[in-house]
């Protein structure tokens, strides 16, 4: 058994930021990640980030990842890679399978769950053919492993993931035949859609994939128009020749550990579905468990880093390393920073959903703990 003050599950942008804040305050931190490399999804983000200077705007995602790793190394943060957290008991004990070969129990005074999210799939006849993949998977292939999954690609979903990955597939030398969006309006930032549009990529709003064809792998797709109730309109089918289908159809928070830990949940479709309730300190309904990043609602790396910071500051405060007053001042700065990211046409809805979640969190948690 390993005893530690703070265990953090997930070394993505949220987990790393949390670890850095808590370690800097003096807490004894163990960071655990199931992957061979830390950084979560940051190392496949080759585009320059948005936000302001405080959110590292203008810096490419993988360079933000490098900065976080350097900082965590400088602080000597103990990191277990290839460590799968398979269970959680009594709100403090983590069962970790290390290197897929042996188990270790980590007894932590405080835990931050920053496990991120997984890609959603949509199904259609032929969706199981080789060549149909998550947009995130294609992004890993091109930007991390430098393998172009195909030459003629169709993207299903026009949110930021869809348009950013489409752009990066063009950069990698692929041809993006079309980007489809089931809704009547495109989802991603206009600057992203404009960027792929002027590269000659056509957008099809109110369209989806009816089926994919192919014997050994995808050779073509049939696309179809949708009416306002998302029903397929007969007679609008078109065949497009493609060898790769990328699905950018949303993300679902990876909440298994929070369920196991007995955290109370809420269902908020706009943030990705079932989410552990949290308050404005990223506290879950379990007294010693915090959450941060996509598990607390699907957003983006910039917000995940801020939430991680918030969780790290407050976990360190509860461990006695930061005074309550200082923690509150720094938490408020982080919340303000989050609010600037959650504003405007795209952010406002997320802010409203997060605010109502935090409100619920405050009520449930004060009733729960005190």
């Amino acid at each position: 058994m390993v005893e530690i003050e703070l265990a953090i599950v997930g070394a993505g942008p949220a987990g790393l930021s949390a670890a850095i804040e808590a370690r800097r305050a003096g807490a004894n931190v163990l960071l655990i990640d199931e992957n061979a490399r830390p950084g979560g999804q940051l190392f496949k983000q080759i585009h320059k980030f948005f936000g302001s200077k405080a959110h590292k705007a203008g810096i490419r995602g993988f360079n933000i990842g490098n900065e976080l790793l350097q900082e965590s190394e400088l602080l000597g943060i103990n990191t277990w890679l290839n460590g799968e957290v398979c269970g959680i008991e009594d709100g403090h004990n983590l069962w970790v399978v290390r290197d897929r070969s042996y188990s270790e129990i980590v007894k932590a005074k405080k835990i931050i769950i920053a496990t991120g999210a997984t890609e959603n799939a949509v199904t259609f006849p032929g969706w199981d053919l080789p060549g149909v993949m998550g947009a995130g998977a294609a992004q890993t292939m091109i930007n991390v492993n430098r393998v172009l999954p195909g030459k003629k690609i169709i993207m299903l979903g026009s949110g930021n993931v869809g348009v950013i990955v489409a752009y990066q597939l063009l950069q990698a030398g692929g041809e993006v035949v079309a980007i489809l969006e089931a809704a009547p309006k495109l989802g991603g930032y206009g600057v992203h859609t404009a960027k792929v549009s002027r590269a000659g990529v056509p957008f099809y709003v109110s369209h989806t994939i009816k089926q994919a064809f192919g014997t050994e792998h995808v050779e073509a797709v049939e696309i179809v128009e949708l009416d306002s109730a998302f029903r397929q309109i007969a007679g609008t089918e078109q065949i497009l020749e493609v060898d790769t289908v990328c699905l950018a159809t949303g993300l679902t928070p990876l909440t298994e550990l929070a369920w196991l830990a007995g955290c109370k949940f809420d269902f908020i479709p706009s943030l990705g579905g079932h989410l552990p309730i949290h308050d404005d300190k990223m506290h879950s309904t379990q007294p010693d468990i915090f959450i941060a990043g996509d598990i607390s609602g699907i957003e983006e790396a910039s917000t995940a880093m801020e939430e991680g910071r918030l969780a790290g500051i407050n976990a360190a405060a509860e461990l006695g390393y930061i005074s309550e007053e200082e923690a509150e001042v720094r938490s408020q700065e982080t919340r303000d920073s989050l609010n600037t990211l959650r504003s405007g046409y795209f952010g406002q809805k997320r802010r409203e959903s997060k605010d109502s979640m935090v409100q619920k969190g405050k009520e449930v948690i004060s009733w729960n703990i005190h």
């Binding site: 320059k48 948005f50 200077k53 705007a57 360079n63 000659g200």
Partner: protein, 168 residues
């Protein structure tokens, strides 16, 4: 909002003219001018921070649309490579008697070379006219966002905003 941007992917000229930073017809004819095609409120302000003359203002709420003071702007081009959305370029109607110039951010390899004849495209990637590459700038500070300058016939001044990428 009922933007063409949200259905076709690209803004129309009409939508652009309504945005606070887009140059007026007169400004376009004066000489080199910075064009910011940012018409949607997203949380982002590196353009403001990149400007050495304080000509670009986003303001405290970083979802404000950028504004540009053309009196202060010296058309240095710092914002062109700084914009994470690749939404800023420089156009010069007065480049010479018959040709205009366009400097735009470009993140595809292989980069074009000065002297290359390339295909200028519009906001939908459609061929507009042939153009000649006159400069390719890729200093370290741009962090791999190269700035390519082309010259092209004045008749196509408005439509051309980028070039067709070379396919490897």
């Amino acid at each position: 909002m009922e933007y063409s941007l949200k259905t076709t992917g690209a803004p129309t000229l009409e939508e652009l003219h309504k945005s606070p930073a887009f140059p007026t017809h007169e400004q376009f004819l004066k000489g080199p001018v910075v064009v910011i095609e940012c018409i949607e409120e997203i949380p982002c302000n590196p353009c403001e921070a990149s400007c050495p003359k304080g000509a670009i203002t986003v303001g405290k709420s970083i979802t404000n649309l950028p504004k540009i003071d053309f009196e202060k702007c010296i058309v240095c081009g710092m914002c062109v490579s700084a914009c994470p959305g690749l939404a800023i370029y420089i156009k010069d109607y007065t480049y010479n008697d018959t040709k205009a110039s366009l400097s735009f951010p470009y993140e595809y390899y292989p980069l074009p070379n000065p002297g290359d004849i390339v295909e200028a495209v519009d906001r939908y990637g459609k061929y507009v006219c042939d153009a000649k590459v006159i400069k390719v700038r890729n200093p370290k500070s741009n962090d791999h966002t190269s700035v390519v300058t082309i010259e092209y016939p004045k008749d196509h001044f408005e439509e051309a905003i980028n070039i067709k990428r070379k396919i490897r």
